[in-house]
Symmetry: C2
Subunit: 476 residues, 2 copies
């Protein structure tokens, strides 16, 4: 396929491609800027090299990412929320030839063999007219994203042009496509949630509105005054937005929130429904280059709690023994960078093992019970923390409650719960409610108050870290 950016410069030169609070760029202007970065880069990098980028959601970062793609380099997108030591591990693993960083994110502990340039330094490099790649080869790896892995060697997820193309197509076939679409990106560009918006921008010829820090009042202002049509959110963002201005005040162009990044409680979704605020629940991961399962507009109000049906190019089935969600799709990553064993271990018969346990209702809608790794066994019974959490949140929607487990001499393991918020109920109330609404073995034996939850860089709660003693200092 023709180079996507060059194609949009040709098709829609005067269409707004990218905007922030301070600046607006058409596709022609974005293309000119990107060419400028390419001219600085062309003597520093070669096609096929892996080049790392560490950037917040800024125009410069956006353009440099595009420039490296134009020069046929493989992007290694670094997570700015990780510690420097974690980044150093990833840079070594990916064997990057160069690391480009936003000035404020300069890495001090870098191995001296890895060349590091800030964007400012890059802009001072000599210029030579760069020749850009003519075609985007579908099977070629264009991005590597390290998953927020737990322990051991980090896993670099390979993503091809084809992966991003089919992901964008699956999303369009579900959400529809309109000439005036304008996608607000307040999720990080280094994460598939943000990067997939960039790629949709290139493929659809769509405006991307780029925001660096999520602050509910700022976003609300955007949604009220600008013709934003779609915004990608994670549950915490949606809750913060719900707490601010009501839906009626949003710009009439607004179509929906695309909700990803983990499960949300039913009460929050019910509030959205009451406010006629379209929220499209979705399910996806770095390995599938974004969404693979999503609700549609028609079903969303009737299937609260479900993440939807597999999108058009996606096949899905459940492992008959474990109920693990298995995926086959053209947007599925070819594997992990230089880790054939981990790649092989993530597949069964050509199907990708997501690690999530789910069930399908009679109409074919997928519900996620939880992570296979989160499940624990108590007295021979499988327990999914997410199920217990959902029951408590039905009663106390304003409280964040997370379930983990601890070892138990008699049952093997027993559930324990962690709560965060104001005006928490006492232990007796929580236990009585649990006994009324849950099987006895699912009722947490301890309830702890915590000031905050440990989270990954992408905002997901790290349930397993709640086993650390620091979180168990304030029993309710």
């Amino acid at each position: 396929m023709e180079n996507w950016l060059q194609k949009q410069i040709q098709l829609a030169p005067h269409h707004l491609a990218l905007q922030t609070a301070n600046r607006q760029l058409t596709f022609a202007e974005l293309g000119a800027d990107v060419q400028g970065w390419c001219d600085h880069l062309t003597t520093l990098v070669n096609a096929g090299q892996r080049i790392a980028v560490l950037t917040p959601n800024t125009i410069a970062g956006y353009e440099i990412i595009l420039a490296l793609q134009q020069l046929d380099c493989t992007l290694v997108l670094l997570n700015r929320r990780l510690a420097a030591t974690e980044l150093v591990l990833q840079l070594a693993d990916a064997q990057v030839a160069l690391c480009l960083v936003a000035p404020e994110l300069h890495l001090s502990q870098l191995d001296p063999t890895v060349q590091q340039l800030t964007f400012t330094q890059l802009a001072q490099q000599p210029c030579r007219p760069a020749s850009l790649v003519a075609e985007f080869t579908p099977e070629k790896v264009t991005t590597i994203m390290y998953t927020s892995g737990t322990t051991g060697r980090p896993k670099g997820v390979l993503q091809t042009f084809q992966n991003h193309f089919y992901s964008a197509m699956g999303s369009a076939l579900n959400l529809g496509l309109a000439a005036q679409d304008n996608w607000l990106c307040a999720v990080p560009l280094f994460h598939i949630s943000g990067f997939s918006i960039m790629m949709r921008g290139l493929i659809y010829g769509m405006t991307v509105t780029l925001v660096d820090h999520f602050e509910a009042p700022v976003i609300t202002h955007w949604l009220r005054t600008q013709p934003i049509t779609i915004m990608s959110v994670v549950p915490t963002m949606l809750k913060a937005l719900l707490a601010s201005t009501p839906w009626q005040d949003y710009h009439p162009a607004f179509r929906c929130f695309l909700l990803g990044g983990g499960p949300i409680d039913c009460p929050t979704l019910t509030v959205c429904q009451q406010r006629h605020l379209p929220v499209i629940q979705s399910y996806g991961m770095t390995e599938t280059a974004s969404q693979v399962v999503a609700l549609n507009f028609a079903d969303a109000p009737h299937k609260i709690g479900s993440v939807g049906k597999p999108l058009f190019p996606v096949q899905l089935r459940l492992d008959s023994a474990t109920q693990e969600v298995l995926i086959k799709a053209p947007n599925l990553s070819p594997g992990y960078w230089q880790q054939p064993l981990k790649t092989a271990a993530s597949r069964t018969d050509g199907w990708f093992k997501t690690g999530d346990i789910g069930w399908l209702d009679a109409d074919g809608f997928l519900f996620i019970k939880g992570r296979q790794g989160d499940m624990f066994i108590s007295g021979g019974e499988n327990i999914f923390p997410a199920e217990i959490e959902a029951v408590y949140q039905q009663q106390w929607p304003q409280i964040n409650l997370v379930v983990s487990h601890q070892a138990d001499a008699h049952w093997g393991a027993v559930p324990i719960a962690f709560l965060q918020g104001d005006g928490l109920p006492d232990h007796a109330t929580l236990q009585a409610y649990g006994r009324q609404h849950l099987a006895h073995y699912k009722v947490p034996v301890h309830f702890y108050q915590v000031p905050h939850f440990p989270r990954t860089a992408s905002g997901k709660i790290q349930r397993h870290r709640l086993a650390e003693p620091q979180f168990q200092q304030q029993p309710l």
Copy 2:
């Protein structure tokens, strides 16, 4: 990719899939009907066989086409407007195992080695539960369409699933996609213009409204009373519709006419523009599984006469010597059935030679001058009939005028014109107008009145046949 029909049955079982004046079917109902036809077919056909279908635009024909695709057969779509002798040639060329025909189209001159069944006879065949193909393999040939070739052995254009998929995606990326889309198909299913609507129906999960005979009052009634959003038209259809009800009366859901099947005169497009009637000019062919170039909504009013820009997955360039339009695209046919020489002759360096001569304006919009084969040389000058026609139609929009050429001892060849309509101007008027608006060598030397133009089955005027004496009996 998963079987497209089964995917929509799963994703949108209750969504309207197909409607005619008499009947409406959801995807679940269409799926059940198709399964019924498969059960009748399963003992008659094998996967991989070529099976011919000869049908008008009826629900039975639509379902039988889908059923054969479900059974992994390659469809040979026969053109009902061809003479029986032409069809017999195509059936022999394609080596079909079975020919399924609508009862009223029963072929009498068929080679006894080809089994023929009418749809009625098929419905009486014994049933066995058929197993349907699980996946649509992108590279697999699913359809063969014979081009309305001139002389010699007919050319069967191979079309893969991937061809149809990318064609549908290119169209969606240009026209947008909405959940309520409903495409009126009054163009034949055996032609890529109609078949591509069927495939979009399966890929988008979209309603197709099927009409067999184009009659302007009937279509106008559909467009006024039903939420049709898009209709594919050829120039003659558009002119007939313009002559009836004005745009204001159409259902508010109506989005646009997609215009293909040859050039249209500028005056007609100007009328559409004045009536605020969105017409999207497009350009495509059987070999590219429908549109490869089209205008978009924003550019359409400013670029009258252009067929647009190459769609997202399409690359286009002009041959530097001949200005022939060359195409590279994932929707490009792998070639002609069992004709490697003709396939090779249609390519140059991986680019498909369309046979059309065009030019690109400064903004990259394509204009088609005419067919390479239509061009003739007069006194060393290249002449394209379409250019002369456009000049005359500017002055007399209600008259159909077609230019051809005849041999000339002095100039090699000279242009001649054929007119059809009421109240034709006389020879002196036509020639005087030509001398005023055209280079001298482009002014037709003879003008003939004809009762009708010779046309191909798909409605295209057969310019070369105008050289036959029967068309030159009434000089003006």
